[in-house]
Amino acid sequence: MGTTRTTEILVGAFMAAGFLALFFLSMRVSNLSAGDGADGYALTARFDNIGSLKVRAPVSMAGVRLGRVEDIRFDADTYQAVVTLRIDGAYDRLPTDTFANIYTAGLLGEQYVALDPGGSQDYLGDGDQIEHTQSALVLEQMIGQFLFDKAQEGSE
């Protein structure tokens, strides 16, 4: 009887430890706690070029993460990228003239969407579109522009 009881206790402890480890992996290691799925509200933004922006890339303002990129589509009429941003419900007071940029985190890091607040008194709601956008900087374009400017300076 005593050995059965010990087995029971040890198996119980084992299962508890296993589930604790799973909980740790989901909450502390991955982003399950940071809200997943369809909470919050969606905004769209049109960019001429999104560089290498990916679905699930962070959306941040002032360096704080507000949400993530939910969807990226291509508009065949305007030849633009339509990016859907899923913003956490807690941040529901983004001005309508908010500016969306695509930046790169660090020199080799991933690209993310950075929002700059405007001055409007009206706030963006679910399904609204951010009008002011700035495309991703493509390295080749920047270098090309730089060389072009230099050449022009020289010729003057």
Binding site: A13, G18, F19, L22, L25, V29, A34
Partner: protein, 260 residues
């Protein structure tokens, strides 16, 4: 002679296919015992103990050290790019996606799988399985099914422990010894790792490995030649086949899960 060689090849091919067939028949019989197991939870408990509790030590120690090595190696590579802050991401992603499920499955195959094969093989060699059958007790349902379910349930829990301790080991080396920023370590990890993509896929992998490792171990024991030489050969085969199956399946699962 050429025909002799061809005949040998054919014989071993037929033998292999017949073995696979027997293994599947056994799996069906084992699964058939699952409903009856509901009324005998005690049998399952003992097997979770055998596969799970008895493997905790080796899993915990291995996980910790694998994580520490990942922390060390990752730091040296990442610091060359000035990206030490990504150490947490690297350690956690490689553990949750790959090393946790795979190394756990390999360790369980060596620690618990071989023990299962030897146990079943010995029960067969000492006529215990026949004796059960003569007592009108189905040895597959009574002996094999609880072991199968025990392995299936214990594997993801063991893999989660492995990954968790690995992350903590990487954190200890990276943050504690090498001076990576604590906040960056965790926040980058959380930002980059996805629950479904990384953690859930790892759990699915380890469930699949749990089925495969225990299935192979049970089959090798049940199919063993009932002599001491036969059982020892079966034990070796059990570990080798399980390891190969885990590594091969890992490639297929990874391609299915993370390939776009």
């Amino acid at each position: 002679m050429l025909t002799d060689a061809l005949a040998r090849l054919g014989r071993s091919g037929i033998g292999a296919i017949a073995g696979i067939g027997r293994a599947h028949l056994l799996l069906v019989a084992v699964l058939g015992g699952l409903p009856a197991l509901v009324t005998r939870p005690r049998l399952l408990l003992a097997q979770i103990y055998n596969v799970g509790v008895l493997s905790v030590l080796i899993i915990a120690v291995s996980g910790l050290f694998v994580g520490m090595v990942l922390g060390l190696q990752g730091y040296y590579v990442l610091s060359q790019f000035g990206a030490e802050e990504s150490l947490g991401v690297m350690v956690a992603a490689s553990l949750a996606r790959e090393l946790g499920p795979v190394v756990t499955a390999l360790l369980v195959a060596g620690r618990a799988g071989s023990a299962l094969t030897a146990e079943i093989g010995l029960m067969k060699a000492t006529e215990q399985l026949s004796a059960l059958e003569m007592m009108a007790v189905d040895p597959i349902r009574r002996i094999l099914t609880p072991r199968f379910l025990g392995g299936f349930l214990a594997m993801p829990l063991l893999a989660a422990m492995f990954s968790t301790l690995g992350v903590l080991g990487g954190w200890f080396v990276g943050v504690g010894l090498l001076g990576v920023d604590d906040g960056a370590f965790w926040s980058q990890m959380q930002a980059k790792l996805d629950f479904r993509e990384d953690v859930l896929n790892g759990v699915i992998k380890s469930l699949v490995f749990g089925v495969v490792v225990t299935w192979i171990a049970l089959f090798q024991g049940y199919d063993a030649t009932p002599t001491s030489a036969g059982v020892s050969r079966a034990t070796t085969r059990s570990v080798v086949h399980a390891a190969l199956a885990v590594l091969g399946l890992d490639f297929i699962l990874t391609a299915l899960m993370f390939g776009e």
